[in-house]
């Protein structure tokens, strides 16, 4: 059915010509976007949240029509021939489009019927897809009871039933752990070999790097279109890795970032990675004993940050405004002692033990459903451990009083703000709840407004804020009362790299002042900011150590310098192998 369109010059699968789409009166979701998508390739639709990725995909499905311009999908006009398009595409929306109260097999049957898969082909196709997605043993399980990664594979299987010519995947990687993401990627890559055109939208820039071609969107505008390497190559000779830093690397990064010529910098374990301005030729001049600077491979993210005009500076006004906490005794601030949680006969977390000294960042990593959220919730007092004990600043948060909770700040996934309240009202509320009042309260709120620049948005409802601002507001609400301890649950999921950097600048600054941080994350680069990491898998801590220690543990002859993601995957696989052996 499908002829290969590998050769260049073949008609593109999708042609976008000057597409504009607005919702309501605000600035357009897509503004004059033109481009093409080819068969046999993975085209990445890249951009921060709110860039217009979902709108563009929906336009390609014909479920939305453009205000101006036109789209041609597989030769059909999206306005007048949407039905023809639906016959030929596979589409997986953000939440996978599965019926949670139907079983895996029932979902497959439904979509097979809807897509008109002939009966005699079914057993073969089902067999192949179930093998392909590794869901063979779960056909009778309800889709709602699958893990995030499995749901995503099932969603993909449903989109692939009647082999589509064009496959549209809207953020298939969100909320899914690195292992599942890698597997999914492999599955999709196999499809392109058969000539299928794939559109993969994502906010993860490491995924972008692997695409054949990317469309880079920001605030509805197309910034770049072409192979990602074109963009990355521009960064040649501008990226450096700094090792051998004596003393505190966070402090070092903060100083370096404020220098002219440095546009971006992140922490990578014990090292620091720097990106230089294009006009600042050569390597950055750095003083300090033993500091070594070596050029390193540029990444897509470097190019992206560069394209958006560079990251924020290194100083955090927020941290400056905070009194340094006395570096008292060495007693740990957060302590988990044999934390165990059982739900019925299912053990969500077993015998988790670690301790975090003052002024450190501790990361909880692990695949979906492995138990990191359970552990996190037990420590901040939201769940009662079945056995063991968690203590924060010497208190057991389940038993001890309001005063104990006053010492911690909490920022949840999805930035749980009150959407119907304005920015100012959210700040007022959290200030009040943490017992701030009178002059102290108005001063702190004014300070937050100042640091995070809420001024122009003060009267907006929190739910209408762009994601980056939501995250800033959530952070402001969590730190307004100057907590000693910060609990961060996937604090940057979905936000763009610039906002992410700004966020970490603040966190780094606070940590320098003696604040202790416990963070869960799916972003492997974020794990690099941690002083120590506990990798949780199947309810158990399978590895505990600094990022570099974990990387060293999986280094091998063929991969002497593994990334954090490599380490994560290798350690999980190792644990799986041990479990099988045992």
């Amino acid at each position: 059915m499908m002829s290969s369109t590998r050769e260049s010059g073949a008609a593109p699968y999708v042609t976008l010509s000057r597409v504009t789409k607005s919702f309501g009166a605000s600035s357009p979701a897509l503004d004059d976007v033109s481009g093409i998508i080819r068969g046999g390739e993975i085209t990445g639709l890249i951009g921060p949240d709110g860039a217009g990725k979902t709108t563009l995909i929906r336009l390609m499905t014909g479920l939305l029509v453009p205000d101006e311009g036109s789209l041609s999908v597989l030769g059909f006009d999206s306005r007048s021939e949407a039905a023809r398009i639906h016959d030929a595409i596979g589409y997986m929306p953000q939440r996978f489009g599965l019926y949670e109260d139907l079983s895996v097999q029932e979902n497959l049957n439904l979509y097979a019927d809807l897509r008109g898969l002939p009966l005699h082909e079914r057993s073969g196709v089902f067999e192949e897809l179930l093998r392909f997605t590794d869901l063979k043993n779960f056909t009778r399980r309800l889709a709602g009871k699958l893990s995030g990664g499995m749901k995503q594979k099932l969603g993909l299987a449903c989109a692939l039933l009647q082999k589509p010519r064009l496959l549209l995947l809207d953020e298939p990687g969100v909320g899914v752990d690195p292992i599942s993401r890698r597997e999914l990627w492999k599955m999709v890559e196999n499809l392109t070999a058969e000539g299928v055109g794939v559109v993969w939208s994502t906010a993860y820039l490491d995924e972008a790097e692997a695409c054949d071609r990317v469309l880079l969107l920001n605030q509805g505008k197309l910034l770049f279109s072409g192979p990602p390497s074109d963009l990355t190559e521009r960064m040649g000779g501008r990226v450096f890795k700094v090792t051998g830093i004596s003393g505190r690397r966070r402090e070092f990064l903060a100083k370096v970032l404020d220098r002219p010529g440095v546009i971006d910098g992140v922490i990578q374990g014990d090292a620091v990675r720097l990106v230089m301005r294009s006009d600042a030729k050569g390597e950055p001049l750095l003083e300090g004993a033993g500091v070594e600077v070596a050029p390193t491979q540029p990444r897509f993210e470097d190019a992206f940050v560069d394209l958006l005009g560079g990251g924020p500076g290194g100083t955090s006004q927020l941290a400056e405004a905070v009194k340094a906490l006395p570096a008292q005794d060495a007693a740990p601030v957060i302590e988990a002692r044999g934390l165990t949680k059982r739900f019925g006969d299912f053990t969500a977390a077993q015998d988790i033990t670690f301790s975090i000294p003052r002024g450190q960042i501790f990361g909880l990593l692990g695949p979906n459903g492995a138990g990191k959220s359970t552990t996190f919730k037990m420590l901040c007092g939201l769940l009662k451990p079945t056995a063991g004990q968690g203590r924060v600043a010497g208190f057991d948060l389940r038993r001890d009083t309001a005063e104990a909770r006053n010492r911690l700040g909490y920022m949840a996934q999805k930035f749980s703000l009150y959407g119907d309240l304005t920015v100012g009202q959210n700040l007022e509320f959290f200030a009040g709840v943490y017992g701030l009042r009178g002059k102290g309260k108005s001063q702190r709120i004014a300070l937050m407004n100042d640091i995070f620049d809420f001024g122009p948005h003060a009267k907006m409802s929190a739910k209408d804020l762009p994601l980056g601002l939501k995250q800033r507001l959530a952070l402001a609400c969590a730190v307004m009362h100057e907590p000693e301890v910060l609990f961060l649950d996937e604090p940057t999921s979905g936000v763009d790299p610039i906002s992410r950097r700004e966020f970490w600048t603040h966190i780094n600054g606070l940590v320098e002042k003696g604040v202790t941080v416990l963070v869960t994350t799916h972003f492997m680069e974020e794990a690099e900011y941690c002083d120590r990491i506990s990798l949780i898998y199947r309810g158990q801590s399978i590895a505990l150590g600094s990022p570099d220690e974990l990387k060293v543990r999986v280094a091998s002859a063929e991969n002497p310098d593994p990334t954090m993601e490599d380490a994560f995957i290798a350690l999980v696989e190792q644990s799986q192998a041990e479990a099988v052996a045992a």
Binding site: F23, R58, T61, G62, L63, L64, V65, A82, A83, H86, D87, I89, Y91, M92, P93, Q94, R95, F96, G97, L98, Y99, E100, D101, L102, E106, N109, L110, Y111, A112, D113, L114, R115, G116, L142, C158, L168
Partner: protein, 387 residues
């Protein structure tokens, strides 16, 4: 030429086959979901039984044993005889007294609903043929009960007077009203409330449940995935309607069984008429549910709208409990567009009176027109487009 024609018709046949299969797939999916979702079981089976139970037992307009205070200001054979008539009445539970002030407090507190006063000079006057009036004081804060107490008290007195005059042989002209309550001679309000509540149950399933499920599909993003498949909007709608139509008929059947076998409500019509009427009513109910969910796409709003535009009007503006003729004209106009208004009399008839087809056909025709209008509107707002 003939070849081309053949392939066209083959293609058409295959298309038809595909369409049927898609439709059946949607129906099957919806059926599984109904069976697995506790909230649909709750709305389709538990809630109807609770409602029926409440209307069968709890809500009764039959004031059978209303408490009243009976004041006999002076005890004579005549007044005792009249008092005995009150005490013997099956409508009253009588508390005896000699002074109305004994009862005033009770009337204020609502412990009794009325006071009947047989005045001191009644007996003497009665003999002279010029009796003082018997006073009936009722608690007007509940006008319906007050009316009943007045009517029944009047009835008791009139009966007594007739018997008395017959005894003394006086030749009073007697006009005797003979009441016949057709269809419901025992005057049980249950007999008309229970059939009416069957309609309310169908409104709940058709409007509330349907609007909730469709809105849930929008919220969970499954609607979007469906729309990007070759399914047409008409198939989507039909795939929703059929299962809930059947579900509505099933919960109706359940209610009818309970009504007939547990509550002993007579069923004098034919099953064919019952199902025809119910089916005709489910069309506008489902259409309304689909329209609500297609326009709100949000479960909370959908449920509020469904309650406000489906359940409450079916309850209050349909003639179920409150007589439409007694409402102000403006509100009578509003009731014209309440589908339940047309089904409740038909259901009451099929239960109590039997098959009266001219009545059914008129109501069914109106329901079909309403159903068509609502479906057209729903189909228009469910085009295969987002936003």
């Amino acid at each position: 030429m003939s070849n081309a024609g053949q392939s066209v018709s083959l293609g058409a046949a295959r298309n038809r086959q595909l369409r049927t299969r898609r439709f059946l797939a949607l129906v099957r999916k919806e059926t599984f979901q109904i069976l697995r979702d506790p909230s649909s079981i709750l709305i389709a089976f538990v809630l109807p039984l609770i409602l029926l139970f409440l209307f069968g037992y709890g809500v009764s307009l039959d004031a059978t044993r209303t408490r009243i205070g009976l004041v006999v200001e002076s005890a004579t054979p005549v007044t005792q005889d009249l008092a005995a008539s009150f005490q013997g009445s099956r409508y009253f539970r009588v508390i005896n007294g000699h002074d109305r002030r004994e009862f005033e407090e009770d009337l204020i507190r609502g412990r009794i609903r009325g006071i009947v006063v047989i005045p001191a000079n009644f007996a003497g006057d009665f003999a002279s043929g010029n009796a003082a009036p018997i006073q009936v004081l009722v608690d007007g804060s509940d006008p319906n009960t007050a009316n009943f107490v007045q009517n029944y008290a009047q009835g008791v007195v009139a009966n007594w007077a007739r018997m008395r005059s017959a005894e003394v042989g006086s030749r009073l002209p007697v006009i005797k009203p003979e009441q016949r309550f057709w269809f419901n001679p025992e005057l049980a309000s249950r007999n008309f409330l229970v059939p009416g509540s069957v309609a309310i149950v169908m409104a709940l399933v058709g409007t509330l449940l349907t609007s909730l499920v469709v809105a849930r599909e929008w919220e969970r993003g499954t609607m979007e995935a469906m729309m990007a498949t070759p399914v047409t909007a008409a198939e989507l709608l039909a795939g929703k309607v059929l299962p809930y139509f059947v579900l509505g008929l099933i919960s109706m059947t359940l209610c009818v069984l309970v009504a007939v076998f547990l509550f002993g409500v007579p069923f004098r019509g034919s099953l064919f008429a019952l199902y025809t009427i119910s089916a005709a009513f489910l069309l506008p109910a489902l259409g309304q549910g689909l329209l609500i969910s297609a326009t709100t796409k949000n479960q909370f709003l959908a449920s509020q709208l469904a309650l406000m535009s489906g359940f409450l009007p079916a309850f209050l503006l349909s003639g179920f409990l409150f007589e439409i003729e007694s409402m102000p004209v403006v509100i009578q106009w509003i009731t014209m567009i309440v589908p339940a208004r047309y089904v409740i009399p038909s259901l009451q008839t099929v239960f109590l009176a039997g098959d009266i087809w001219p009545l059914f056909l008129r109501n069914i025709a109106i329901l079909l027109v309403m159903g068509t209008v609502l479906f057209v509107l729903a189909a228009r707002s469910t085009r295969k487009r987002i936003g």
